[in-house]
């Protein structure tokens, strides 16, 4: 394409050679830059970008900067996941230039072929390498699989004897309402003797069957200060302990290797105390009382409610009978009322009928009754004619014995010493005498 472009004339009056095609010049520049001596440079990394084929970053110091690139395959061999801004590195390589084209921009970079993290970054790189090795061996998992008691009775604590971490752990446990037994295993926590001493303390605590959980506590510090807690032997020991270890090393921004292998990693000793005793004892005591109360209440209610149901059920037949009895009484009352009403109605009807009948009878039998009256009158008269009083009025007398009984024969007269003669106007006492005596 460039060959096809017309070759323009140079700038009039200029004594410089050319004009040359820019591609030719760029290629020549690339060759010249590549010809520079290959060196090592050091500086702070900034703006690391990981691409699929290449990795880019800048290397800076107080007086200058250099754009750097590295093949991704070379970067991966370093075993570094990433590098934060400011990490000091030593880079080996040489200048390189990409001449670009009509469709792409040219770029200059220091092509890095080897790189080493220096200073604290060096320590970090060591830690990262060990972290990866431990992870690959599966040593981050065993501790996390250990069951942790929620209410341990004996807690082992590894810390510096005079450190603040010790007080913080104690305060944290007290705040939890926990009042069991703490076993202190004091150890140096930052010099070169620290890692073996801590390892020994952990092993000794774990050897006591009574110790149910171990807290490793240390306050904040530089990476170099905390480096003991990245010790390989220490970390391997922790990973294989039978007792769960809770680590609280440094501040929350620090991440030591013991944090990775421990059962739980905490940012402060206070949190470590809470992790060692997951149950807030004071709250748990209150909760236990609440639960016990609810259980007791529910238990009582369950019985009482059933007793009520039972009582209701036992009353049910009697209630049923009583309901029927009440209904029956009601029916009886209604029946009586109905009967009374029917009787009254019938009575009135009967009376009316009787009256009508009487009237009809009276009307029908009036003549016959007159005849009967007349016969009756006649009979009365006949009867009156036979009255003794009438005979007495005609001059007859009635003889009566002392008891008033009529005497009707001579023989009966002779039986009494005295008799009474009843006349129409009064009575007279008489003494009968034998007929012969009269003479």
């Amino acid at each position: 394409m460039a060959d096809a472009a017309p070759h323009p004339d140079g700038i009039p009056g200029s004594r410089l050679s050319g004009p040359w095609p820019v591609g030719d010049y760029a290629a020549a520049l690339r060759d010249r830059l590549r010809g520079f001596k290959r060196v090592q440079v050091f500086g702070e990394v900034f703006g690391l970008k990981l691409g699929r084929a290449k990795v880019w970053f800048e290397l800076r110091d107080s007086s200058g900067a250099l754009p750097c690139s590295m093949w991704r395959k070379d970067w991966d061999l370093l075993g570094l996941d990433t590098l934060g801004d400011g990490a000091v590195v030593v880079a080996a390589g040489g200048c390189d230039f990409y001449p670009g084209s009509r469709a792409s921009s040219p770029s200059f970079s220091f092509a890095v072929t080897k790189l080493r993290v220096a200073g604290e970054g060096d320590l970090l790189a060591q830690v990262e390498r060990l972290r990866r090795a431990l992870a690959e061996e599966g040593l981050f998992e065993p501790q996390k699989r250990l069951p942790r008691p929620s209410l341990p009775r004996v807690i082992g604590v590894v810390s510096g004897e005079g450190g603040k971490a010790r007080d913080d752990v104690l305060a944290g446990l007290r705040r939890r309402g926990w009042a069991g037994t703490i076993v202190w295993a004091f150890a140096p926590v930052q010099d070169r003797h620290a890692a073996p001493a801590i390892t020994r303390a952990l092993q000794d605590l774990a050897a006591c069957e009574e110790v149910e959980v171990i807290v490793v506590a240390r306050g904040g510090g530089s990476l170099a200060d905390l480096f003991a807690f990245c010790d390989e032997t220490l970390c391997r020991t922790v990973a294989l302990l039978r007792v769960p270890v809770i680590s609280s090393v440094g501040h929350h921004t620090d991440r030591t290797l013991i944090d990775d292998v421990a059962a739980v990693a905490c940012s402060t000793p206070t949190h470590a105390a809470e992790a060692a005793v997951p149950v807030d004892c004071a709250a748990a005591r209150a909760q236990r009382q609440r639960l016990a109360g609810r259980l007791e209440r529910r238990s009582r209610l369950a019985i009482v409610e059933r007793a009520r149901v039972l009582a209701r059920l036992s009353r049910a037949p009697a209630d049923h009978v009583e309901r029927h009895r009440t209904r029956l009484r009601q029916h009886a009352r209604e029946l009586r009322a109905t009967a009374r009403r029917r009787l009254e109605t019938s009575g009135r009807h009967t009376s009316t009928t009787a009256l009508v009948l009487e009237r009809k009878v009276r009307a029908a039998s009036g003549a016959e009754q007159v005849q009967h009256a007349r016969n009756l009158e006649r009979l009365a008269l006949a009867l009156a004619a036979h009255e003794p009083q009438r005979a007495l009025e005609r001059g007859y007398a009635l003889v009566e014995d002392p008891s008033g009984e009529p005497v009707t024969s001579a023989a009966a007269v002779r039986e009494h010493a005295e008799l009474t003669l009843r006349l129409h106007d009064g009575t007279v006492s008489v003494r009968p005498q034998p007929y012969g005596d009269r003479s």
Binding site: L170, I182, V279, R288
Partner: protein
């Protein structure tokens, strides 16, 4: 926190909550109610025992003191528990 990390105290508490929920539902028959109440009471007693075990006063020992005590044949916290 994994399941294994929750020990028997919390398991017991969870079970007590379940028991109370079941009782509150009113669906349990009499026999089940009585059984649940018995189980719940047992669990409450267990929880109380666990809490009592860490309520006798915080005791601090150094590792060598613990070892000496173990060699003498007494368990840590035994003195406090006995009191």
């Amino acid at each position: 926190m994994s399941d294994a990390a929750t020990a028997t105290y919390e398991t017991a508490c969870t079970r007590i909550e379940e028991i109370i929920r079941r009782l509150d539902s009113g669906e349990a028959g009499l026999r089940e109610t009585l059984d649940l109440c018995k189980e719940g009471s047992r669990l409450v007693e267990f929880c109380a025992g666990e809490l009592d075990a860490v309520a006798h006063g915080l005791e601090e020992l150094r590792l060598d003191e613990l070892v000496a005590r173990l060699e003498a044949g007494s368990r840590p916290g035994a003195t406090a528990h006995a009191a």
